[in-house]
């Protein structure tokens, strides 16, 4: 059994090693969120993965969130990287904010290849591009789809139920779902 370095606090370690990358640290219900500079998120994650005492070796999830229409937040989108340290049995959320007019973030596929599809999903549903991604295509929606359905300003469409009395009426405007 190799020696295991004692667990360190991720925020402190990052503050010591890369002070310019760490913008904010936030805690809610025992979950720690590190808000980092988007340009350095790949380096931060590599640091969190490879540093003894942290060893966040597993990428659980990447989720993006759209803060539209809130005006007080400067950036519209947030991307959360949920990291897991199997050695110390704890989780960490690394978060970056992405402005709507750039909508671009660096890809995490160099650190964890499993990020490939998670990023494709975000590109497909939220519309954030990942620079350097090897295969950035739509994944869940059809390739010719217009728009990004998980944006908060994308309406939730529905189709009217067809009965015999209104079937013809509905067929007239069939391909278009109602907003």
């Amino acid at each position: 059994m190799p020696d295991i370095a004692p667990a360190r606090d991720a925020a402190d370690a990052l503050q010591a090693a890369m002070p310019e990358a760490l913008l904010d640290c936030h805690s809610f219900r025992d979950e720690t969120t590190l808000i980092v500079a988007p340009a350095q998120v790949v380096d931060v994650c590599r640091f969190l993965r490879d540093t003894p005492g942290l060893v966040y070796n597993f990428l659980s999830d990447i989720s993006a969130v759209d803060y539209w229409p809130e005006q007080e937040r400067p950036e519209r989108f947030g991307i959360c990287y949920h990291l897991l340290s199997m050695l110390y049995g704890r989780r960490l959320r690394v978060k970056i904010y992405v402005a709507e007019d750039e909508s671009e973030a660096p890809t995490m596929t160099g650190v964890w290849p499993g990020a490939n599809w998670l990023e494709r999903e975000i590109f497909d549903l939220i519309g954030i591009r990942f620079s350097g991604h090897p295969d950035l295509r739509r994944i869940l929606m059809p390739s010719e789809w217009d728009g990004h359905p998980h944006r908060r300003d994308y309406p939730l469409g529905y189709e009217q139920v067809q009965f015999s009395f209104n079937a013809e009426e509905i067929m007239k405007h069939k391909p278009f779902a109602r907003e």
Partner: protein
Amino acid sequence: MAVVETPTSAPDAYRWEGNIEELRGLVSERAFTGETMLLNMGPHHPSTHGVLRVLLELDGEQIVNAVPDVGFLHTGIEKTIESKTYEKGVTATDRMDYLSPLSNNMAFCLAVEKLVDLDVPPRAQLIRVVCLELQRIASHLVWLGTHAIDLGAMSVLLYAFREREKVLDMLEMLSGQRMMGSYFRPGGVWRDITPDFKPTLVNFLGEFPRAVEDYQRLLEKNPIWVDRTQGVGVIEPDRALAWGMSGPTLRGSGVNWDLRKSMPYSGYEQFTFNVPLGEHGDVYDRFMCRILELWESMKILHQALERLEDKGPFRSDNRKFVPPPRSELGQSMEAVIHHFKLWTSGFDAPDEEVYAAVESPRGEIGCYLHGTGGNMPRRVHFKTPSFMHISSLPLLTQGHFIADLVAIIGSVDIVLGDCDR
């Protein structure tokens, strides 16, 4: 005699000409010269376990490249939940991984409970554990049957479904539904266990070991089965971790990681059970991991059964989040107000984010939940094991024969509803 003209070309409806240039970068250059063959497998193919389409580049019978194409079952569940109150969202989560709906319920309920800081009474947690383990057995039985039928062992499917039916009957006793029960709700479960549930479970636990022994006898040492599965689809532990695999697929490679053990939820820390581990990371080891998990689930069920009392709280009595029982509505004005409030507007959750993960039969289902301060979430995102496993399919299949592809797909146990959401 009338001369039947032979058609010189297929009718237009059958003519399909794909643009091969679109595939540049996905398949190797040899496909463009005609040296290798491109073959489309699925989306309607029984051994893809749903609607997975795989574009295969074949050199003879060997797979050079496999390009999975998913999204056929995308139903916008996450988007739907964004327009529902938290309690209604549970119903949508059932439809993701349709072979283990209760695990999805669990991930979502855990996230909601974390977000609003809601306690679940120990007896409700116990009922949840019983349900989750029953669900794990049901899901593993479907996996076992379909995996075996993929590899030509026809009879296992029938035996496995015979036992699964008993499990589904028990779930029906609890929730009134065989599959999409939405039985877990934020704060506990929908209703108490029925009086005939425990005797049925005792009965089931009495006869199930014999069934599992039967499955093992049918396959474990079967020379054809062993030939088809050992040394096929090997995943090294470090690659499994890098590609985000979880569950029995990860444990088959020897990585000792089970969320029930390592980061317990819903009172799993009170149970004694083992985490079966593979050694070689091949199809056979993943198969054995799941078979042994059936035994471990039975262990947990035995322990839970001892502790499960016939009467007691089955959901939180925090009336701000959990509706009062029907019996109170006739006597208490307060209860009527809470009932009305919760069933019209639901409860509010803070504008914060949480992540909760559970060990489903397939792996880690994670639920990322971001509240708005109102009664509907801003964003729900499910990290699903099948999505991660299918993304690594090219890695798993390269260099294998096309017949092994079926074995590999079966052994990582994918559910396309889980993948596409």
